[in-house]
């Protein structure tokens, strides 16, 4: 990234911070796959420090919604403002903004041809002009936090699923993101490994990292979320604080859903 662009982005961020607008504003988001309408007008504000959990039956569009936030899926219609900038605009260089939006995938997607350390330093070194020493120091610090400092020279294939996912979280954190997007981070894990990943996420939430989490872990949502969103048929059906959401669901859809999963 050129210094000019970086400066420009920082200026725009300052303007946004002064305005007090939400970190992410989603307006009437739609996503169509041919005949399938995965998202039918989703609008939501995500503020700095929010820990938003998105739950719902499979096919409800919750993963699509998350993947639209950093435009891994190209929205069909609607707007997403991230730090005050319309990132759905084709003129916006989405690559710059993706650096500020860490993403964690269900299948980890670590780079198998690189050591853990290379996985963690590739982005900062190539995209943020960080020196090798600085990038490695930062990676080491984060590795220690998740208890995997001794695996820095290992390859992803040598790690367990839980370890891989913790590394994937660290890889996203190395870019110093302003928001973390989690796409069913524990769905591909053996049950005994879910806990270690959730612990790292809990840590992040306590540090006031802004998070958007798509998950089936209801107990975890109840414990960590600042807000829970229920999606069905590509729409937000209900949205509330976790206590209210789980104890006192308003809509019949949510009542039925909770009856099935709890």
């Amino acid at each position: 990234m050129s210094d000019k662009k970086r400066l420009q982005m920082e200026e725009m961020k300052a303007v946004w911070e002064a305005s007090g607008a939400p970190l992410i504003q989603v307006k009437d988001l739609e996503k169509h796959f041919d005949d399938l309408h995965a998202l039918n007008g989703v609008s939501v504000d995500i503020n700095k420090g929010d820990v938003v959990f998105v739950v719902g039956p499979s096919g409800s569009g919750k993963s699509t919604f998350l993947r639209c936030l950093n435009r891994l899926e190209e929205p069909t219609a609607g707007e997403i403002l991230f730090e005050g900038i319309n990132i759905t605009n084709k003129m916006t260089d989405i690559n710059l903004h993706r650096q500020k939006m860490g993403m964690v995938f269900q299948q980890f997607n670590l780079f198998p041809h690189m050591t853990i350390m290379k996985n963690l330093t590739l982005g900062p070194m190539k995209l943020q002009n960080m020196s090798k020493e600085a990038a490695e120091a930062q990676a080491m610090q984060l590795l220690e936090r998740v208890g995997l400092a001794d695996r820095a020279d290992a390859y992803p294939n040598q790690l367990s699923g839980g370890q891989k996912q913790r590394i994937a979280i660290v890889r996203a954190l190395c870019m110093k993101p302003d928001v973390m997007l989690f796409d069913e981070p524990t769905s591909a894990l053996d049950p005994e490994m879910v806990g270690e990943v959730l612990a790292v996420m809990r840590d992040l939430a306590e540090e006031k990292m802004t998070m958007v989490v798509v998950t089936h872990e209801m107990a975890f949502a109840k414990e960590v979320a600042s807000r829970v969103i229920f999606m069905a048929d590509g729409k937000i059906v209900e949205e509330a604080a976790p206590a209210e959401f789980f104890e006192n669901p308003k809509t019949e859809r949510l009542q039925n859903f909770l009856a099935k999963v709890l």
Partner: protein
């Protein structure tokens, strides 16, 4: 009893003949043949010079093939993944269809007699161009297969970090794809080395043509042809060994 003794005598004479007469005769014939085909009038130079030409053509054709193959593969894979580059993809598609749908010998003859028909060009250069263009088409499909075999999640992970399409290709997808297709690529180069043997059709004096020239002078076809076959075999085995070595090194870096 007599019968058995007679039989033993016959066998003894046969063995004696074999060692005292037949083998020396064979050796004599062999050395005569060898002298005639390789030593006399410095005919070995046809083989050595031809080998030089064959290796030269193969090496440069491989380089062109790799360059062309990668460009075409990346254009095709980009089109498959993103729908961009429609025009270039169309050109690549025609290139692949034509080159893979016609014999390499015909391509060589067309390039020599039609495209360069009215200009004097170095035959080695013509062969390099013809085999390079031909090889590029096969390399392209091998590499494209390698790129498409990489899980879409790898691509998304790269993009989600903020890498653009090209950076994701260079740092994440291509290194993995290349490792996956290395055996197939090696095989393609072995095929190429052997395929250059048809270059004699444009009177390029490569290894095979060298043997053929000797044969036409000495009328003793066995020795030059077997020698040339052995040389091809040796180089193919060497190449296979090198590829295996490279493969093992790449694999080691993962475990």
């Amino acid at each position: 009893m007599d019968f058995i003794i007679n039989l033993l005598i016959i066998v003894r004479d046969a063995i004696r003949y074999f060692f005292t007469s037949y083998i020396p005769q064979l050796i004599q014939e062999f050395s005569n043949d060898f002298y005639l085909n390789f030593i006399k009038e410095d005919r070995w130079k046809y083989i050595v010079d031809g080998l030089g030409v064959t290796l030269q053509v193969t090496l440069f054709a491989v380089l062109i093939g790799i360059a062309l193959g990668f460009i075409v593969a990346i254009i095709r894979a980009t089109h498959d993944k993103t729908g961009n580059l429609k025009f270039f993809n169309w050109i690549c598609h025609i290139y692949l269809t034509v080159i893979r749908g016609t014999p390499v010998l015909v391509q060589l003859l067309i390039i020599y007699f039609v495209i360069f028909g009215s200009v004097r060009v170095d035959k080695v250069l013509v062969a390099v161009i013809a085999f390079g263009i031909n090889s590029g088409a096969y390399v392209a499909e091998i590499v494209r297969g390698g790129i498409m075999s990489i899980d879409a999640g790898q691509f998304e992970a790269g993009r989600s970090l903020g890498f653009n399409y090209t950076q994701t290709m260079i740092h994440i997808v291509l290194p993995q794809a290349l490792k996956n297709v290395l055996p197939a690529l090696g095989n393609e180069f072995i095929v190429l080395l052997k395929e250059t043997s048809v270059a004699g059709y444009i009177a390029l004096e490569d290894l095979t043509k060298g043997a053929d020239i000797i044969r036409s002078q000495t009328f003793a076809p066995m020795m030059p042809l077997l020698a040339v076959a052995a040389i091809y075999l040796a180089f193919v085995m060497l190449l296979s060994w090198l590829i295996k070595l490279l493969e093992r090194r790449l694999r080691n870096s993962e475990r």
